[in-house]
Amino acid sequence: MLVFAISDKGGTGRSVTSSNIVYRRALQGSDVCYLDFDFGSPTAGAIFSVSSVARGTAQGGMHRYFEGRLADPHRIDVWVESDREGLRGKPPGAGQMVLFPGDEGGGEFSTVSEEMLRRCVRLFSRLEEEFDLCLVDLSAGRSFAAQMALAATARLPGVPFRWLVFHRWTRQHIIAAHGLVRGRQGLLAAGVEHGHDEENLADHIRFVRTAVLEPDAAELEGLRETQKAWLHECDRELRELARKYGVGRTAMLGKIPLDPVLQWREQLISDEDVLSSQIANAETVAAFDDLAKKIVDDSAWEAL
């Protein structure tokens, strides 16, 4: 299955959240891979703690593959090449976890040629043979990478795909997420142009809320009553807004709580971070775990 991660705005935590989903899915026993399609600023190496490709690879990554300069993009077995001790060595029962990094000094494409599209179709098709889940991290906003993903999936009718739209739980982000999907030149409009059926495509898109502050969270115990009441009111308004814009609960696949570790150290959160060093919250890991299950659970993707 191909899963595309996209967000309208930057700073949503799209990359770090989708990397953690991939990691959790691998721990749950699936063979997974992560493709860095953020050609302009590849960062996945840093999230997976593979320092040799922290800012992209010098050995031929996604960008050069699409340029037609190599037959196979550089692939990294994270269980072998990660610098983080907790990630090195595949735990028993876990699946493969492979990273396809971007290129050092890559850059966004200014157009999608037929040849690039064919390469993309070939890549997706080959990876689908090998991996249960291929997560493609697209850059923020409407990019050529997103166009290419829509066009390629339209040519691969037998390959299941899903889209995750990441947005923060704020007024601006909710409106922007709506626009990214349903606005002019949004995913649906662009998808139809590339040959997708609008309704079918819409059924394969879900939203993920990031950095969500729950008004009832334990951390907020110390707030004054007036502050709490105000927070509740804001949350209610946001829920109302989200519903109005089609970004409400039914279209939501999951939400990730606000966690300082995710904000300051954009990395995979291991169980050790929760249990031994206790720097991360158990709720965050539970949210990743839940998303990693729902992403492949058909009942979470029934038509709206």
Binding site: G29, G60, L70, D72, G93, S125, R126, E128, E129, G158
Partner: protein
Amino acid sequence: MLLMGEVRTGLLQNSGEIPESLCQAVLGLLSGERVRVSRRPIMYAVSPDQLTGVDCRLASASRARVRGVGTVLSRASVTGGRVLQGSSHIRVVRAGSDHRLSWSHYLARPGVVEVFGKVRVPDLVEGFAESGAWNDCLDLGSVSERFMDAVQGSPLLDRKAPFKSARTRLRWVAVSAEREPGHEPGHEPGHEPGQEGPGIRFVLGRDRVRTLRLVLPGGLTPGVVDFCEDLALHDWLLTTLQVIFERAGVGTATRAEVTARLAPAVDHLLHLWMPAARLDDEFTPFWERLERRPGFSRQWLSLVARVRDQIAVNTLALLREAGGW
């Protein structure tokens, strides 16, 4: 001078094995010519040969610039209606002239690549075996994969493969044991010091790359391509069954889960093991040598026995739990 090639092997992307008629249709996509099929002891269908023109560097261990011009011979095949292979090879010969001739010259010699200048065979042998995709040299593997992709992309396949599996890459190079004029004496590429019997060296590398070096006593006969494809097929079967068994979670997962995870192997793989089924007699000694060490069939049979034993004990346990006895 020498033969070299690369075979890529993978699971055909279809829910079940495909019948002969469908094999013909998916392999026929590659060209208008007829697909050849043999039915005993296992169904094997192979596409007509395809030619790809090349004019590029050949990998050499010394990093010397070796230019080769000619054509690559490729074919795709399906074994047992289940396993897909893409195979490409070339015969490297010294060019008779010092410049590129018209394409009609090369097209009249399918599968021959002519190299210019002074070339040492061991240099090419080692260079080819070492080379990865990351250089500008001739990449026979990606030619093979192109033909595999064409088959996998056929609308006649449902793309619902019963399990995920990676393609394997077997890179092979064969030289003749007969001395050619101008051949420099020295270490033969397939022979290890002190080794007896046929010259064959098979090495498992990283990222599912295998290299095979052969010294052919009877000269460079085309049957070597069949042998390499057969070896690649059985190496893929073994590799894939190992992964399935490893991931079944024996000892940790519940008995029902283990059985369910092993089931695809029983349904789709176990009956495909038939080493040396279609080989010329002159290659039997090579298989026999591989059977002695590392012992392909020995490992396969032991693994198959483990799969069946697991399923048997799990079935008994489930029957007992169901209150039967």
